[in-house]
Symmetry: C2
Subunit: 339 residues, 2 copies
């Protein structure tokens, strides 16, 4: 399997994507194609003693800046490391694409270069978020589409459900609609209109509205919402983790007694903290496009890139794109029958 | 000062509101008026040895059920303990009103019985949420108005700012608009339209968009949003606290070594946990009505009720309603000048 990685994407490029790629070759048994300035990448590898077995470079020295208009990926920056990598994925020269570059540009590239799966209206970002008892829920859409129509939410349910089932291995994952109460009349026009559509989706285990409180408590496996709500949920989860984590650390460093206590719980506490670490869970898939595209966190280090590559590999092996295509087709067929 | 409390509101009524009222008389030096079934309340006081000094009962045995249509407070349930208490507040027979009953009904009563402050379009719920460094931010609207126009968000800013300044004592609190990025073009139509209006508010220290990630990290003092987003933020904060709190507890109980560690950090950890406890922070004010109305948490115990009463007392003493009226009038005057 050949995974393409954007060697220039992210705060720590090119060193960390390159190290991540080298680790992936060694540990995951994949071939890696790294796009970016080849001279720069080779120099970086040399300086840092990174082995280049199993790595092919494709020279694309230009980088799309984080602040660039996303659609400029198709115009001024059509030769940048991200665009070149996505075109290769689209042409089958690699099986999946990973980048820690601009989310907006990545979405544009996924949609217009890698291209949507037949029947998919709008690709969405899925993000796995840790929950109680070592579980995860998939937040979908985690930020791609801010203004949504009800039909879009039904596709997020179908795509998210297919992804969760393939990647986590849970059959018929519980799909919930993020809302402000359990009752069917709750929410804005969007939620009220989406609820009956979600209920009637063929092959989807829809469990109704789910309140934000129940998301970290394992209330559903796939949490469906528009991208504005998704961004709020994702970012607040991050912020709460940082706030509580920092406060606990402060408690533990307060005095000699607590410092001793901290020593005693260090290894067990570290194991829990690891479950919350985005660097462990990999990146966020862009769902609904013909080949796996994984958005790695902007501040990804080698370990985070390696895990994002691992996730891309799983998506290819388990044919997530095929499962989404089948799910969307099933939804279309059922809609035609109901007309 | 006389504070009215709904003796029948909340999961633990009538015992806990009654105990809370008695503690408030003793510790806060207020007189309490308790509405509800007088016979039942007196019997409850007798059985539990609750002293009744400083407490007056007003007989109103009917209770509005949690699942009742909120507007039924004005019709079928116009003689219930909540409605009777709010009418007394409106008539000046008490200075403020506290209830742990249905939020929807309380909003209806606040709006149509206690009545809106002149110029206020829609009352909003404000909720103080703990943040980094022992700070708090006021989330407004925390769930009263799901579909908002941009002008409503400006009033939430004015009302929230007045409340924060009076209750926390921070001059010119930093008001932020909850959004998905710092740039002015970010968000849905609502945020994009509200931003310039918020920037031009007289006397308000508006700092621009604030991302959800920065809320628990102290990014602003007053976080403005529609009630749908507010509910998501409030509930997710609760859920995250419960999830991480539970997980930390599990870590500490894992084995003998961690249990010993837990003993060593117990008192310091307890102090931090207390800062996150809603029972300490009191209830959520309904902002924009002529007298303070405080919504206590549905599962409030005596301590939570006492703290909600303390908060009601502070609102009266510091004339929060007057400050809101002045702020709204200033906003109106500025709007007229700009026409």
């Amino acid at each position: 399997m050949r995974i393409i990685i954007d060697g220039m994407g992210g705060d720590l490029a090119p060193l960390e994507p390159l190290r991540g790629a080298a680790e992936a070759v060694r540990e995951l048994g994949v071939e890696m194609i790294v796009t970016g300035g080849e001279a720069k990448l080779r120099a970086c590898a040399g300086e840092n003693g990174i082995p280049l077995d199993g790595i092919t470079f494709v020279d694309a020295p230009r980088v799309i800046p984080m602040e660039a208009e996303p659609t400029s990926l198709l115009k001024e920056y059509s030769d940048c490391s991200m665009a070149v990598g996505m075109k290769m994925a689209a042409d089958g020269e690699g099986d999946a694409f990973v980048s820690a570059g601009s989310t907006g540009a990545l979405l544009v590239g996924a949609t217009f270069l890698v291209k949507r799966i037949k029947g998919v209206k709008r690709p969405a970002i899925g993000t796995m978020i840790p929950a109680q008892g070592g579980r995860f829920y998939l937040l979908c859409d985690a930020g791609a589409n801010h203004d949504c129509r009800p039909e879009m939410l039904t596709q997020f349910a179908v795509m998210g459900s297919a992804y969760y089932e393939k990647i986590i291995g849970t059959e018929r994952p519980r799909v919930g609609l993020i809302n402000i109460g359990a009752e069917e009349t709750k929410g804005t026009e969007l939620q009220v209109a989406a609820l009956p559509l979600l209920k009637n989706l063929p092959g989807i285990h829809f469990i109704g509205n789910v309140e934000a409180r129940d998301l970290p408590l394992g209330g559903c496996d796939v949490a469906v919402c528009d991208g504005f709500i998704g961004n709020i949920v994702l970012k607040l989860t991050e912020g709460m983790g940082k706030f509580i984590g920092g406060a606990v650390k402060e408690v533990l460093m307060q005095n000699l007694k607590t410092k001793l206590g901290a020593l005693l719980i260090a290894s067990e506490f570290g194991a829990f903290k690891k479950t919350l670490d985005y660097k462990e869970t990999g990146g966020a898939p862009i769902l609904g496009v013909t080949r796996p595209v994984i958005k790695a966190h902007g501040s990804s280090d080698a370990r985070a890139f390696k895990n994002a590559i691992r996730q891309a590999k799983s998506c290819v092996e388990r044919d997530v794109s095929g499962a989404i295509e089948a799910g969307v087709a099933r939804q279309k067929a059922a809609a035609r029958e109901n007309v």
